[in-house]
């Protein structure tokens, strides 16, 4: 009788303790290489709680560059609703399924003026499109497949999977410049501070999106504060 009670108690307790301890967190940065069959520049970033939610975006520009030097435009797809986040799902190392919005981002620089003088225009191209971001090849490659868009493909530059405590946002560098090391500290702060005032994507420098934590298209004090809040 006692053993039955103990077994019942353990059965009730076990899922609770597992659900607390086994939260899995994922971070992935990648570089866009292709848009459809054409080469492209760009950046992809994912931060997710497995079986929970995800923050993901991909910014890309077809190779060839802008036809007018003073006007630079590229595309940004932003996950606005997560349907599924899984690790090791259907031969994918990471699988993120959800509803995406796609924007056309346009910087217009005033000729002959400092780079700071610009206008930023963001126009919505696609609203609520179903899409899947998948990482394959042992965390080597990623694909973003959004309905009515060509396939966006690239290579993984960095990823991290942890259990329990959430991954701290802001790990973008280390003594090995520009390579995350799993810790948020002065290396990340300095790396981001060096890019202070720059506009991600404006000069093909899409990697700057890794430091634009609030995705406001400028590396500013808000991004430094994000790192500052997560320094450990």
């Amino acid at each position: 009788m006692i053993s039955v009670i103990i077994l019942s108690f353990l059965t009730l307790c076990a899922p609770v303790s597992r659900s607390v301890d086994d939260v899995t967190w994922v971070v992935m940065y990648g570089e866009v290489k292709n848009y459809g069959l054409a080469p492209a520049f760009g950046w992809c970033s994912v931060y997710a709680q497995v079986k929970g939610w995800a923050r993901a975006f991909v910014a890309w520009m077809p190779a060839g560059g802008p036809s007018i030097p003073e006007i630079i435009n590229f595309y940004v797809a932003l996950l606005n609703k997560t349907l599924m986040v899984e690790l090791n799902y259907q031969n994918n190392d990471l699988y993120v399924e959800g509803i995406w919005d796609v924007y056309n981002v346009i910087y217009i620089f005033q000729p002959g003026t400092a780079p700071g003088n610009y206008t930023l225009d963001i126009e919505l191209l696609m609203d609520d499109s179903h899409g899947i971001l998948s990482v394959t090849g042992g965390w080597a490659d990623f694909n973003v497949n959004i309905r009515d868009l060509d396939l966006i493909a690239g290579v993984v530059k960095y990823y991290k999977v942890t259990f329990g405590a959430p991954i701290r946002i802001g790990d973008v560098s280390s003594p090995d410049k520009g390579v995350p090391d799993g810790y948020v500290n002065i290396w990340d702060l300095v790396h981001t501070a060096k890019a202070y005032g720059l506009r991600p994507g404006a000069k093909y420098d899409f990697h700057l999106f890794s430091m634009d934590f609030n995705l406001d298209y400028i590396i500013d004090v808000g991004d430094l504060a994000t790192i500052g809040a997560n320094i450990e």
Binding site: S173, K177, I186, K194, Y196, G197, L224, G228, I231
Partner: protein
């Protein structure tokens, strides 16, 4: 012969070229100083002290740094002794332009993480200066290491700067002076003072009597080393015979831990003695003695243990709430006579 001349010419040209190369190399690579200075990050002052209930500040300084773009340090302390009140950015990195400064303080575990970086694509700062000023609050007595660890200096190329970090040390200053004894006669008051703190103190010692409305007998300034004591003599002339309260006061030091023992009080009788022939004051009205006898009678009821059981007259000291009541031998003799007369 022509061949030998040509050979000699070639040899001369070769030697000349060699000389020019050696000279140019020595110009391109001037002799460097083999003793290169290394940056040092340290607390200033290295040993600091504070007083319970007060704040004190300490700087984190850097010296001999080249191209400093960003820095980080962690500092730990004993959280039962100190709390961090505030962490302010120092002026050093601002010499290079705008900065971003952030700090995290954990007063429960006793550590902080402080970071600062220049902004934009600028060159770092050279030289020496203050990175941070930290204000601590002293919660209690004690001493602890101010451990500077995980220090990182980064240059404008995002490369580490070699350096050394030097810890600091903190101790709580105990400031405590006390009057440990007080004796008085009709001509002199002797005050024994002691420095019970941890550092040398200079303070005033003042002596009063109460009969004429707290007139000051005198004040002397004394300097005592840690643990030292001294007896000061104050010459006085009581205006008339009577019962005097003598009070000695050591001035209260800033941040002094224990101020209760800075005041010492005794009561002394100045006047005619039956047994003593050299007493200066003979004409004391008997009513004074009677009033005094009533006072002493009250004390006998309240503090019976203060009396010697064999009935001998003696100098008796009664401690009441830290004050000392000193009754001279002749006072007791007068008291007993008055009591006999009453009977």
């Amino acid at each position: 012969m022509l061949k030998r001349s040509i050979c000699f010419l070639y040899l001369s040209i070769f030697l000349l070229s060699l000389s020019i190369m050696v000279i140019s190399c020595s110009i391109d690579n001037p002799p460097t100083n083999t003793i290169s200075s290394i940056a040092v990050i340290c607390l200033e002052p290295k040993t600091c002290w504070g007083v319970v209930g007060q704040n004190f500040t300490v700087n984190i300084n850097i010296s001999d740094v080249v191209d400093l773009y960003g820095w980080e340090f962690k500092l730990s302390w004993n959280a039962t002794i100190l709390d961090t009140v505030e962490v302010l950015e120092g002026p050093f990195l601002k010499n290079g332009g705008n900065t971003y400064f952030t700090s995290k303080i954990n007063n429960t575990l006793g550590y902080m993480i402080v970071d600062c970086t220049l902004l934009g694509n600028v060159y770092g700062v050279n030289g020496s200066g203050t990175l941070t000023t930290i204000k601590f609050y002293v919660k209690t007595f004690g001493e602890c290491q101010l451990d500077l660890y995980d220090t990182i200096l980064v240059n404008s190329a995002e490369q580490p700067i070699e350096h050394i970090a030097i810890d600091g040390y903190y101790y709580t200053l105990v400031r405590d002076v006390a009057i440990i004894d007080l004796t008085a006669s009709s001509t002199c008051v002797n005050v024994t003072v002691e420095n019970q703190g941890t550092c040398t103190e200079t303070f005033n010692v003042s002596v009063y009597f109460t009969r004429l409305g707290d007139p000051l007998i005198g004040t002397q300034t004394i300097t005592l080393n840690k643990g030292e004591n001294a007896t000061l003599s104050f010459i006085w002339s009581p205006p008339i015979p009577g019962l005097y309260e003598i009070r000695a006061e050591a001035s209260i030091l800033w941040g002094e831990a224990d101020t209760l023992d800075n005041v010492y009080t005794i009561v002394i009788q100045i006047g005619r003695s039956i047994s003593s022939s050299n007493n200066q004051y003979e004409s004391i009205h008997s009513s004074h003695y009677f009033a005094f006898a009533m006072f002493i009678l009250g004390l006998i009821v309240l503090v019976p243990k203060a009396f010697n059981k064999n009935g001998k007259t003696q100098t008796t000291v009664i401690h009441i709430s830290g004050s000392k009541l000193l009754l001279a031998e002749n006072v007791w003799q007068h008291l007993i006579r008055q009591l006999r007369n009453l009977q």
